[in-house]
Amino acid sequence: MQNADREINKEKISVAEMAKQILEQGRADRLMGWKRGEFFYDNSPAVFENLSELDDFVYDLFCGSNLSKFLVKESRKDGKIAVLLKPCDRYSFNQLVKEHRIIKDNVLPVEIDCDGMLDIDKIRALGIKGIKKITVDGDQLQIDTVYGPKTCAREDVLLMKCLTCKDRVGGDRFELVKEIEAMSSVERYEFWRSELSKCIRCNACRNVCPACTCEKCVFDNDKSGIANKANTDSFEESLYHMIRAFHVAGRCTDCGECTRVCPQNIPLHLINRKIIKDLNEFYGEYQAGEDDFSKGPLTRFDLDDVEPDIVMERGGNK
């Protein structure tokens, strides 16, 4: 990260204390963070305008949502807004600044630490129901439920994006992409058909995506000819997802929000990762949002860029 105009937590105070100090000292007029939910795991993004509102402020293991995109709207309001950015969120923030979607002068970015966020859906998928409380016990989670105590490994229920965290020693984020590449075309088709035919076209992936900030999306534009709200078959949604992936190509920071919000748990990030992997192979390693000024692989032209027929040369698994 190469931006100096940031709040960095040098004194290692709690995030809640940082938030309080920022508002108290008038370093920003408002602060975007997370608000305590109905339960302990359903924190919502929220804007805090004064100290008393901070009573509901929370920063814990269930603050997975990326606040960057909210700034497209928030940075256009009067006054300065401070925003809490986990390491992964900073990439989206930079990318949005680079694309002039966030008015940088109106924002005070605040870098906060993160040890990985938990995914309540993954905990539920383990068959754990009636969840009342979760306590972290080293690598394990002690889960208090209506049906008695349960445990699970913390690593097993981290948000997908945390498993290959860009700022920690994460696993190989292309591992699953490679597995899909290794499939036969029939297997690959079946894999995506099975996943994408679950899509209910709620647009959550698009609306949450920090790279999707068009004023009017082609899919909402009646005059675009592809504003279909319904499918002729259950696999037609693949068109929507592929067009979206191509539109964010080179700009997607791999923040993982698409997969986090998908109500059907479709691993949408894999489509983006496949494109990132290809871009890396074609144009050299590039991380969108690493900074807020450099040109991306698809907005730059070099004489030694690969030719389109690379597609033929590479082929792919038949």
Binding site: K35, G37, E38, F39, D42, N43, S44, P45, A46, V47, S65, K69, I120, D121, R124, A125, G127, K129, G130, I131, K132, V146, Y147, S194, E195, S197, K198, I200, R201, C202, N203, A204, R206, N207, V208, D220, N228, K229, A230, N231, E257, R260, V261, P263, Q264, N265, I266
Partner: protein, 355 residues
């Protein structure tokens, strides 16, 4: 109406499904790529995984009566002439098994919209042809609050109610349609069920257990009385809508997973060979929902967000004897990308009155 209680051993439940599916489509909660949906059961397909342990399917059972999209009518245009071609899909008889108490109640809420005059023909036809077999909830979730709406998860409505207790599936027909299906199953295989009428102690114990769990759930006692008592315009004008809607990203997740959301769009698709008019789900959360040629009365997400919750908590009840358009299934609690939901709205707008 029959008070007869039948049982079938859980290990033989496959026989029951096969018997139902013998002459009609049977929808079961099946796993698809890790998620559970009501999908057509295929007795010949061993790979299908029936998930009676999962409480909420991602999409609610309303899909079977009000599908996400359906053809209405087609047109052929030739010069100045237009031909109307009726091509609505014919609905065959079907049964859905495993509907939970909340979803079963959602049909009553949808009925009040779609079966009021003028009757929605395609919904009415699906309601008439569909037999609903419900399943009591042995393990309610912390997100459940069906109790708020007087729904008993230990005894769901439906044409037939079933329970899982003591290694048995307990089966009780509630309606003529339910009796008809039961009689038909018995006529094909008299040994399919054991008559357990009068020996339902295990079943009663299970029901007690369910009610006991529900009384311990975090949302137990949630009351929406504020929305019955307070003036419509006072609720509408609450300053709290602003902060509540802040986190809303304007997607349609809550709407599409909701068993009672019923808004739809009517659109035309030019097939190149004619025009297909279809109806599909729509969401009041979408920015173009009420967009007109000359303007949009809901220009920001605050207004769209307010519309959705006002509809559920105030407008629908105003038109339907105070009945809320919510069944407490908890899907929006579990699925909203920003963890915003009807419980937070009710508690924030209703303030202390609702906690």
């Amino acid at each position: 109406m029959s008070a007869q209680i039948l049982t079938v051993k859980m290990e033989n439940i496959g026989n029951l499904f096969k018997a139902i599916a013998a002459d009609q489509k049977l929808y079961l909660p099946l796993e698809q790529a890790g998620q559970v949906q009501f999908l057509p059961y295929d007795p010949a397909d061993d790979s299908q995984k029936v998930r009676l342990d999962v409480l909420n399917t991602v999409r609610s059972a309303k899909d079977l009566f009000f599908p996400q999209s359906e053809n209405m009518v087609a047109f052929k245009k030739q010069g100045k002439k237009i031909d109307i071609i009726e091509n609505r899909e014919k609905v065959e008889a079907f049964t859905v098994f495993g509907v939970r108490a909340c979803d079963a109640r959602s049909f009553d809420i949808l009925d009040r919209v779609f079966l009021s005059e003028p009757v929605d023909v395609s919904y009415a036809e699906r309601r008439a042809r569909g037999t609903v077999v419900t399943l009591a909830c042995n393990e309610p979730e912390e997100t459940c609050f069906c109790e708020t709406f007087g729904i008993d998860a230990a005894k769901p409505d439906g044409d037939i109610t079933t329970w899982i207790a003591d290694g048995l599936l307990w089966w009780q027909a509630n309606t003529n349609k339910g009796v008809k299906l039961t009689d038909k199953l018995l006529s094909v295989d008299a040994g399919l069920f054991v008559d357990s009428t009068g020996e339902a102690k295990a079943l009663e114990e299970q029901q007690e257990k369910i009610r006991e769990i529900i009384s311990q759930l975090p949302l137990h006692g949630l009351s929406l009385e504020y929305f019955h008592k307070e003036e419509l315009k006072t609720i509408f004008n609450s300053p709290k809508w602003q902060e509540l809607s802040e986190a809303c990203i304007g997607c349609g997740t809550c709407t599409f997973v909701c068993p009672t959301c019923q808004c739809y769009d009517i659109r035309d698709y030019d097939t190149g060979n004619g025009v297909q008019r279809y109806r599909c789900w729509d969401s009041c959360m979408y920015s173009d929902f009420v967009m007109m040629a000359h303007g949009n009365p809901r220009t920001s997400q605050v207004e769209r967000f307010r519309q959705r919750f006002m509809h559920k908590l105030v407008y629908y009840p105003a038109n339907n004897e105070g009945i809320f358009s919510c069944v407490g299934c908890g899907r929006c609690l579990a699925k909203c990308p920003s963890s915003m939901n009807i419980v937070k709205v009710a508690k924030t707008i209703g303030g202390e009155a609702n906690v």
